[in-house]
């Protein structure tokens, strides 16, 4: 029994000592020089696009400016997002850049409560949400593809395949009724020369897709290109639908998002050409070079540079406002239709020499930067 007591006491002491050593290591760390801390909310910690964004901020921006980026772990819901913002506030961060979209309105409100500047680096608020919060002084802005840009991206994709002469396609609608995917899908249908519910008017098609919460194949009339199948939803829950789409042997598989994440290997194996709206990553390059990815509308890693410039300006008291409102600018997609195009975009945005490099960002960082100059930089790159 004594031995058991001794054993128990040893283990308990060991637990306390481990804790003390870990705590002690905190004291031992040298303090860093004062700089601006910016918290980054991320919902994807392992995707190539997310890693590209992170490398750009941590390896390029952080060394070019006196900034420390503090990243969250993978955020999966609104509670985690809010808690992460509160932790960043407790850690002395001055601003939050969001790459997570569970509940952006709550993110914005929480930032406002803690007097943190808030910016959206990927995607946008819905129009009514932007109208409601654009006057908030802590809302720096949002830079990403607008809904019109999303529609155009889908439209160009549809037109590309129609011009290519494909006779049949399968369509993957990703997460309809997510607005971004609704607009892209409406663009794809119209680009293929199809009507939906008897119309090819953008707003009418978009309205119907929102109402249906999916694409109702029975409402499609497509004289030139047959729509063999349609499905949507998370990759792991749509295995049967993907198999059915492959069995239908379409000439092409058109995706409005996430196909390169979910379906690349299956579509390559089936020998079906496919397209997607995603980003310029090495994985997508491989799919384009050796696989069946033939069309990619995408973003590049340093596309999140301008929003950093807007945030650092706000932190330094030089907020850039559009007539007093938060910035809301649309960024276009780059389109690669072959590996040479892809490689050109991919290599032009390398880690050490990104498209939005220090010299470009410096042109919009400072006390005398106009909204027009900022807008011009974003829209011309």
């Amino acid at each position: 029994m004594k031995a058991k007591y001794a054993n128990f006491a040893k283990k308990a002491t060991a637990l306390v000592l481990v804790g003390a050593v870990l705590t002690g290591s905190v004291f031992a760390r040298p303090k860093k020089a004062k700089n601006v801390k910016i918290g980054v909310l991320v919902s994807d910690v392992s995707g190539e696009e997310a890693l590209g964004f992170r490398a750009y901020y941590e390896k390029y921006i952080a060394s070019a400016y006196n900034v420390t980026f503090k990243y969250t772990e993978q955020l999966t819901n609104a509670e985690e997002e809010k808690s992460a913002i509160e932790k960043f506030a407790a850690q002395g961060c001055k601003a939050i850049i969001s790459l997570s979209s569970s509940d952006r309105v709550t993110q914005l409100q929480t930032c406002s409560d803690y007097k943190l500047y808030y910016a959206i680096a990927s995607g946008m608020l819905e129009d009514d949400q932007y109208e409601q919060y654009k006057n908030n002084p802590y809302f720096v802005g949002q830079i990403g593809p607008s809904m019109e840009t999303e529609f155009q991206a889908g439209l160009e994709m549809g037109r590309y395949f129609a011009a290519k002469g494909v006779k049949s396609v399968s369509i993957y609608g990703a997460f309809i009724p997510n607005p971004m995917h609704v607009y892209r899908t409406a663009g794809v249908l119209i680009g293929l020369g199809a009507t939906y519910g008897g119309t090819n008017d953008k707003n009418a098609v978009v309205g119907q897709l929102f109402g249906d919460s999916r694409v109702n194949v029975a409402k499609i009339s497509s004289p030139k290109v047959a729509i063999k199948s349609y499905f949507q939803g998370f990759g792991e829950t749509t295995t049967d639908e993907l198999n059915a789409a492959i069995q239908a042997k379409p000439d092409a598989f058109l995706s409005v998002g996430m196909a390169t994440t979910f379906f690349t290997s299956q579509l390559n194996a089936a020998g079906i050409e496919f397209s997607d709206i995603d980003s310029f990553t090495s994985g997508n390059g491989k799919a384009m070079k050796d696989g069946k990815l033939v069309y990619l509308a995408g973003k590049y890693s340093s596309s999140i540079g301008p929003i950093f410039a807007a945030v650092i300006n706000a932190v330094n008291g030089n907020s850039i406002r559009d007539k007093g409102n938060a910035i809301s600018l649309s960024q276009n997609y780059l389109v690669a239709k072959n590996y040479a195009d892809f490689d050109k975009f991919y290599t032009s945005d390398s880690g050490s020499s990104p498209i939005f490099d220090k010299s470009k960002l410096d042109s919009v960082i400072g006390s005398n930067v106009s909204y027009e100059a900022f807008k011009s930089l974003v829209e011309n790159n």
Binding site: L15, G19, E79, E80, G92, S102
Partner: protein, 331 residues
Amino acid sequence: MENQNKKKIGKYRIQEIMLTLMPGIALLVLFLMFCIAVISKEYMLSLYLKIIFNEGVVLALVATGAVFIYTLGSFDISLGASTLLSATLGVMTYNTTENLALMIIVIFATGIGCSLLSSLLASVFNIPVFVTTVAMMSVLSAISAQLITSNGGALGGISIPATLLKGLDNPPFKIVVLALWFAICLFVFNFTKVGRKQKFLGGNPVCAQLTGISVNKYAIIAFVMAGIGVALGAFLTIVYTPSVTTGTAGSIGMNILVAIVFGGMPISGGPRSKIYSSLVGGFSYILLTNFLKIVIDGNAGYGISQIISAVFFLLVVYIASMNYRTKMLPR
């Protein structure tokens, strides 16, 4: 001989007291370590403590109800999914009716209903409860995901107006809810025959049944208590953030198990079960994970804090189980 027996019992009681106090001492040590870490990093301690409370309160509420199930020697892994479905249906109800009272009723009905369904399925098919809860977890998550995505929340979730419950998002309200729920559970668990019989059932189900105790009756009571905990957790989740996404409450199911063990309760349930283990363990676990995240720089690498937490979990189970290897019956 009599003296030897007295000595044995005395030592056993000391050991019991030590193990009883251990979770509380561990919570205190973790709290001190956490405070030291926060202060040494020059972070805001008051705000961090509020965050810890907000993160711990939902876990503590759901886990307190779940103790009744764990006492029976079973466990319910679907509690996170039940919390998600309760919150989802609550938000949908408010958005349809704009009636707050109805929203709360739906949250409670769903929480209790989901929990009861698990226990009824187990009774009907005569299979272990935890097996039905594994199936229920998948079913409830799928239903919630379908409801959320088909109501326009594929990526952004569904939400009630942000201002509706914002006034309740403060520590005093949450402390009152937690204290009331804990007091009710403490009373039922320690001062009524329900708690005593459940401990008996968890410790020795055959003997308990032979003495005329109905397994089904007390299983149903346990699941109803867990369901109320789920409903309270779902409500406070909506109070904290007005939106529900497919990932809401995703980690609660497993965290309850960890919290209860951290609180000093045996996984096997029975007479050594303690109602306070959920409260102590829940906050200990939250303190530990946040302490590790502060000490191990978040940018250094993902998952390191989870690995250390897992090692801690195994250590706690090992130390706690030392006492259960004795031949003495629990007293």
